[in-house]
């Protein structure tokens, strides 16, 4: 008995030494781990640029920076200021003001506004040109509110293949806020739009160093007076119940629900009624999309001069997984809530579907509170990865007009209208005791 034990324990001791050595080398001691590169802090730092392939990250790759009245956001450019909202801020349906993305076109943007001097002017083809101070807007008009998504036309531009020049946004050039202000229609009615008027033009306090008559000196956008969106448009002095940050358009900005942000003029100071179509650079040349389904074309057709363009308007339907974001592993067998947001410029999102196999099979997620047709709509669904491995989570939204997110890319020279189904890889690890 003793002998046997002895013999066995000697043999098992030898075996154990081998195993122990293996364990140390394999997994969990710092130096051993370094050698096998199994630790997140061994990962390479984020690249400083992406391309010529598509940006594989949810956000763009710039550094975090702090700008006045803002939380640390992702820098695209510093003059003029362009900042992207990090993914985790979309965990709430209303995007915090201090985290709301920033996009200016011209470098001379307001640092300070003197409200004792500042006026919003309504001029042009009107019976009675008017000028309102902020307190006039607060006191003379009944406030109106709308929850609406503001999304840059070039949001997700860094996804396009081939890549196109322009702001290389990831997905964070968007945000949702409750906007409160004066209805544009009431301002127009107060001034009296003359018959024969065609458009209404908007201009803010930003100017550029370019020569007069060029788009590099002034930024102006116009909407047709016959467009029904005019009746939904608000001149907003509140954003989520607070004054707008300077970088988001203090003291007032235009809110055009459902439309891309190019029309949402910041630090709005001139409303001009026009009796001829606006042919300034920002309407005639910039912010135009191919007149094709989804606004998509090819570099070849563009070169061939075959592409007819129209001004960009409403935002196509989109959805995003916000959490989990793939930055950590999920233990297999442990449930997790997949959650995110969806929206469409064409009205309410009626369905968000989620797939854990890259889009082969879908199931409907639970929709969050309805804040109106132009707001982010939250969604969530619980999910348990049953076995260890890599899972590709895909999300697909459908809006009330029946528009469904497709899995095909978009390409146009401006890098606009990206709304392809988003995919996120999640890794489930083993939770199995004793497994090696």
């Amino acid at each position: 008995m003793e002998r046997e034990t002895h013999a066995v324990s000697r043999r098992s001791a030898l075996k154990f030494f081998g195993a122990a050595g293996g364990t140390l080398a394999l997994a969990n001691w710092t130096h051993a781990t370094r050698a096998t590169a199994a630790s997140p802090d061994d990962a390479k730092p984020l690249e400083s640029f992406t391309g010529p392939s598509a940006n594989p990250h949810w956000n763009s790759v710039g550094p975090y920076v702090v700008e006045p009245q803002k939380a640390p956001l992702i820098l695209l450019t510093d003059r003029p200021v362009q900042l992207e909202t990090p993914r985790h801020y979309f965990r709430t349906v209303f995007t915090p003001n201090e985290a709301f993305y920033v996009r200016w076109h011209l470098a001379e943007i307001p640092n300070a506004v003197h409200l004792t001097e500042w006026k919003l002017r309504i001029e042009g083809n009107v019976n009675k040109p008017l000028a309102f101070s902020l307190s006039d807007l607060l006191q003379k008009f009944k406030p109106a509110s709308v929850a609406a998504v503001n999304q840059c036309s070039g949001n997700s531009r860094s996804r396009l293949q081939p890549r196109v020049p322009g702001g290389q946004w990831g997905n964070g050039a968007m945000g949702n806020a409750l906007w409160t202000g004066v209805r544009l229609r009431e301002l127009l009615d107060a001034a009296g739009v003359k018959s024969g008027s065609l458009q209404v033009q908007f201009e803010g306090l930003d100017t550029g160093a370019g020569p007069k008559g060029f788009g590099s000196s002034r930024f102006q956008k116009s909407l047709d007076l016959a467009n029904s969106v005019i009746d939904e448009t608000i001149v907003a002095y509140l954003m989520n119940g607070e004054a707008l940050p300077m970088l988001n358009g203090f003291p007032v900005r235009l809110v055009v629900p459902g439309y891309f942000a190019t029309y949402w003029t910041k630090s709005l100071s001139w409303i001009r009624v026009l009796d001829t179509p606006d042919d300034n650079f920002w309407m005639k040349t910039a912010y135009r999309i191919p007149d094709t389904p989804r606004g998509t074309t090819t570099p070849e057709d563009l070169k061939g001069g075959k592409v007819k363009t129209i001004p960009i308007e409403r935002m196509p339907v989109r959805s995003f997984l916000v959490s989990p974001d793939g930055s950590s592993k999920i233990p297999a067998g442990l449930g997790v809530t997949l959650s995110g947001i969806a929206f469409s410029g064409y009205g309410n999102v009626v369905k968000v579907e989620v797939s854990d196999n890259g889009g082969s099979h879908w199931h409907a997620a639970e929709l969050g509170e309805d804040h109106g047709p132009y707001s982010f709509r939250g969604w969530q669904t619980s999910w348990t990865p049953k076995t260890p491995g890599k899972y590709v989570i895909a999300t697909r939204a459908t809006d009330e007009k029946g528009n469904v997110q497709p899995d095909e890319p978009v390409w146009n020279a401006g890098g606009y209208l990206w709304n392809r189904i988003e995919k996120q890889e999640l890794v489930a690890g083993s939770a199995n005791g004793g497994e090696r």
Binding site: T30, P45, E67, L76, P165, G210, S216
Partner: protein, 138 residues
């Protein structure tokens, strides 16, 4: 006999200790702080305000990185930066040579940038030399 028992006992204790130690090592990794410096940024002070009608957010900070060294860099810095910071250049993906040519032309023809022809050529060559797919480093 006694000696042998002793040996067996010691071996068992040693084995048990190593086994326990091995299991502990296998359960976690701890005390690792890495050698990489964490990204950090200084906090911003709260400005002083008066109760007048002036709403001042202060200056917007500059975050302009160094451009690649080479012929034409000075021209890029003086001409391009008239309207926008040169971060616009490094924010782009690596762009094909023809695209850089088109971009510089767009700045002149569409945006009205007053750049003499010879300078424009040097600017284009610089961008093509440092920010195209085949040569971009930073």
């Amino acid at each position: 006999m006694i000696g042998k028992r002793w040996k067996t006992g010691l071996l068992s204790i040693g084995t048990a200790t190593l086994l326990a130690g091995g299991m502990l090592y296998a359960q976690l990794r701890s005390g690792s702080y890495g050698s990489r410096n964490a990204a950090s940024m200084p906090q911003e002070p709260v400005p002083e305000f008066s109760a007048d009608g002036k709403y001042d957010a202060g200056s917007y900070p500059s975050f302009t990185p160094e451009l690649a060294a080479g012929d034409g860099k000075l021209e890029v810095q003086s001409f391009c930066a008239t309207c926008h910071s040169t971060r616009y250049i490094i924010m782009q993906p690596p762009l094909p040579r023809a695209t850089w040519d088109a971009e510089v032309n767009k700045m002149i023809k569409v945006y009205g940038a007053p750049i003499p022809e010879a300078t424009a050529k040097r600017i284009t060559a610089y961008l093509q030399e440092h920010y195209a797919p085949e040569n971009r480093k930073e």
